[in-house]
Symmetry: D2
Subunit: 346 residues, 4 copies
Amino acid sequence: MNFRSDNEVGAHTRIIEAVARAFACGPAPSYGADDWTHRVEHRLRDLFEKPDLVAFPVATGTAANVLSLACCTPSWGAIYCHPQAHIAVDEANAPEFFTSGAKLCLIDGPAGKIDPKRLAKALAQPVYGVVHHPQPAAVSITQATECGTVYAPEEVAALASSTHRHGLKLHMDGARFANALSFVGCAPAELSWKAGVDVLSLGATKNGALAAEAVVFFDAGLAREFEFRRKRGGHLLSKMRLLSAQLDAYLADGLWLDNAHHANAMARRLVAGLTALKGTQLLYPVDANEIFLVLPAHMHDELQAAGAQYHPWPSDRPGERAFRLVTAFDTDPKDVDRFLSIAKAA
Amino acid sequence: MNFRSDNEVGAHTRIIEAVARAFACGPAPSYGADDWTHRVEHRLRDLFEKPDLVAFPVATGTAANVLSLACCTPSWGAIYCHPQAHIAVDEANAPEFFTSGAKLCLIDGPAGKIDPKRLAKALAQPVYGVVHHPQPAAVSITQATECGTVYAPEEVAALASSTHRHGLKLHMDGARFANALSFVGCAPAELSWKAGVDVLSLGATKNGALAAEAVVFFDAGLAREFEFRRKRGGHLLSKMRLLSAQLDAYLADGLWLDNAHHANAMARRLVAGLTALKGTQLLYPVDANEIFLVLPAHMHDELQAAGAQYHPWPSDRPGERAFRLVTAFDTDPKDVDRFLSIAKAA
Amino acid sequence: MNFRSDNEVGAHTRIIEAVARAFACGPAPSYGADDWTHRVEHRLRDLFEKPDLVAFPVATGTAANVLSLACCTPSWGAIYCHPQAHIAVDEANAPEFFTSGAKLCLIDGPAGKIDPKRLAKALAQPVYGVVHHPQPAAVSITQATECGTVYAPEEVAALASSTHRHGLKLHMDGARFANALSFVGCAPAELSWKAGVDVLSLGATKNGALAAEAVVFFDAGLAREFEFRRKRGGHLLSKMRLLSAQLDAYLADGLWLDNAHHANAMARRLVAGLTALKGTQLLYPVDANEIFLVLPAHMHDELQAAGAQYHPWPSDRPGERAFRLVTAFDTDPKDVDRFLSIAKAA
Amino acid sequence: MNFRSDNEVGAHTRIIEAVARAFACGPAPSYGADDWTHRVEHRLRDLFEKPDLVAFPVATGTAANVLSLACCTPSWGAIYCHPQAHIAVDEANAPEFFTSGAKLCLIDGPAGKIDPKRLAKALAQPVYGVVHHPQPAAVSITQATECGTVYAPEEVAALASSTHRHGLKLHMDGARFANALSFVGCAPAELSWKAGVDVLSLGATKNGALAAEAVVFFDAGLAREFEFRRKRGGHLLSKMRLLSAQLDAYLADGLWLDNAHHANAMARRLVAGLTALKGTQLLYPVDANEIFLVLPAHMHDELQAAGAQYHPWPSDRPGERAFRLVTAFDTDPKDVDRFLSIAKAA
């Protein structure tokens, strides 16, 4: 009953095997000139229906986010994001580091989503071209959000509209993009470039890979500096096939979506069971594979005693104890049911 | 007959299997709190006979070099290295980036090794504490060097002596440390901290791993900022076991040295055969697994025609054509012999 | 009737003459080894009753702020400041640049002052030592604030208490420190180090100098890196006497306070007259030399027609027009009276 | 008899008076929107016969150099300069800081001048577009050089030719540009943009100003980011007239050249006298206002005893003692003659 994080689970067998095969087959060109890497880019072009996109594998979500953001802003620029965004609170100033000092400006909104009115107001300030003020350069949204919610395509489009009206670029931190896509049920293009996303950090690590993310530039012109930035950041693997073989298997035969469907389904199953119990309360709608909720003290105690694992989560209301549960591509339905029966008994 | 680079080969079966096993076994603590990572540190403590060393896995050699160097210098510092050092010519200013602007000062010397007299002279300049001048902070040497030569322990010690006399730290880029160790035939400690090395980038990628290096701080105090720097650099893998499982298998049962012994032996076999032929000429002694040599035009043509692969290399003498051949942990002796017989025939 | 900014006025005669004298007297040691620079440090030690403070002249307020903050935080650190702080909105990411990427975290509060409860809550978050999160490193307050209000010594002490409890440093942006001091009427020490300030950007430019600020470290240990940072920032003047002669005259014979007394008195005179008129409304208390207020449309029009100069200011309430008026060391009481008589007539 | 440095002398009366007048005349627009700043740009356009140049005042030579270089290179770029260049040895890594990590590559040559053949060879390396290697971006030359020599217009043009052939920009550190111009005797345009210089750091501080340099972009497009970089560097003075009034007076009525003529003449007078004496030996030709020479021990002792001031200088030959003498705009011929008579007597 491990619901601690989709970062703690193993990897999908097909991805593990793909890596093993890639390294058992002898020499291959280094630094991304290999077949796996080319294939990943072609798969993405097909899946996203965008023949001119360019894509680059990296090993971590932080690298994907900050290397792509660095292509969107000068050092004196401003990047707008939600106060709970991973880039704002969980990346130890990596965005500031890779942009050589751009500023993150926080735009709040309910349930982890940027409020489009607040964004529009912030972007309407008369700071453009004035040397004293950070220059608005990019908006970054997380999909699914850090609250487990998902922006609908029209919500993305609304933010993109403000963003582009002022000449900024729209970045999407898609560490859980597959989970969001599974929830919305639309085509990848609908939730990304057709809604106005300029560059996407497409996660795989949390959804069945060992460690692999793809930076997907829908605007190839924006990628001009990417390869220099990746190398300079120490993020260019000599045996790039390690990352590309993972992504290749991840995107093949719908594995990425199958994994996300399963994780989301397990979250729904947990939610359905838990919200039927007295004293529980969701902090946010559960759109993807993360559940934030209040558990009664005795229920929490019983679950802990039975070996269930999940993280406490800060709650604003005094006396209330909130928690985060995360499901994954490999969550066992039996674990979910056992968890629920313990909770019910409590 | 691929002698292009030890970056282009596959990975050793035992390392591939270790990765596969690590990801097939379900959940594990993230961000390096897992068993594999602990085990790697303990293996290094044993192998290097240094119970208080601290070690951190990263995915690339550039990351290992620049994150460790950043712990050795302020932004206004100077790092002394050979003009051919990887950090100087092959890392796209990553050292300057991760140190927030430290300067690389080049100290030449024959066959890829820093000349100890030139280093001593450079470090004796009256610049310490003077705000106008970059402050000497670290010396970085490569082992084996970019010319395929190896510093003997006493050569390292001589450079360490100058380095420490002036309060600088000694960094060793050990992308091919195992190959160097195999050549010298001493204990790992003798070629590192006992010779004065403060921090070592210990390579595995070029010697049979998929992508893994360990930063080894012999002086644990120097590592104080490392984990913040690694995270901020986007180099902290959530599923750290990907790197640690590789290093664990690499260091187990002498695999790292077996691989290096083989690569070096294959290089010696090539050299023995080639230098017996008329018109060939070594640019540098072949201590490790890289061979830099002049080949007569017709010999080169025949080899190419037969499908042999290796890189041209810049030569200072006009009209002369030089090349680099690299052997690896998996170089097939039959390939070596076939290469030699073609060369001989030519 | 120029009330646009204390940045637009000239300089005090005694400061101009001091500069002229300093440059007419022939050679002097360069880079701050001159008598004027030493004298400034001694004057500050006397005035602040702190014999072990160290002080450094720089030419701009931005340089003073960001060079001193860079001594207080690692690159992965967080600096807490008010959303209206000059360092947050008016310095084009200079703080991020000079700290190599530290993050500014905004703590709101009424009338330009950080709310001590919000600060305490922010600093109590369990992020210390956790590599994912920016590490709390410094708090920066502005005195007088960007709203023209002044922190009382006990207000500074309350913020200092939270700051120091968590091991952070307290920086004060004192671009208008003399104006604040004039308002409070206490000793300089009471409003700075005795209230917990670790480092002060002491402004002179807005209060009668040509261009000069002093960075005053009450904690000399904190200054260890300052001179390297100043040089590396291009802020070390070879003919340092240009800055020091200004500061020397500024601090001599109470000129700094006389200038501030006058500017504040002129602001009070304006406020007294304007608030007696119907339709005007102050946005904030006027503690120092800046007035933020609503003017009725016809009054504003008449004033403009008569040549009065002042800036519009953003107002939160629709339909309302707010403005900023700034007085200075050389504001002519006749200009104030003329302004008031026009306003009254309108 | 102070020949220590042109950084230690005072300022020319006309420049001092211009500053005093500028600050006695009441309010003026801030941040460079004032008349003095406009006038300086127009003077430069006239003097350099380039109506579309753009120019920006800054307070230090380091700021002028590094802010302009930052407009010429990406962070992964390489800047080529002489090993003795001020930017390489005397600016505490300010170039690396302001470029966010560009690399300085040293190209040697006799008497402080870059050898055009070595530069051509370095720029011909096949590194363009290859992500591993720093990307050649700019060449920086010093005029007059750190050895007191002067590049002739055709020497500048030869370096510019290599520079531009490969798409790099040519920067000139003209801390002593007036002295160089005085030596060559040509029009300012001939020694700058007509010879291929793209951006010039035009010094005034060492030649009679208090602290003022102008960054002159002959290619206005290159200046696009300059104002953001200057502000972000803390180098935008609110009362910009402090710098502009100096430059205005400096460029008016030929003062800049008169000052340089005098300084150079005094150097020639010293050289003529000294080289006639036995045991003296020039290290380099004396083109401008700096003399590097060997003095016999007894002569040096007598001069010191008589109160002459000048700096020792490193000499490559053991046992030999070399020194630097610098003349300035205000060097008194009587001091020169007294110095020579003491030397002669010794």
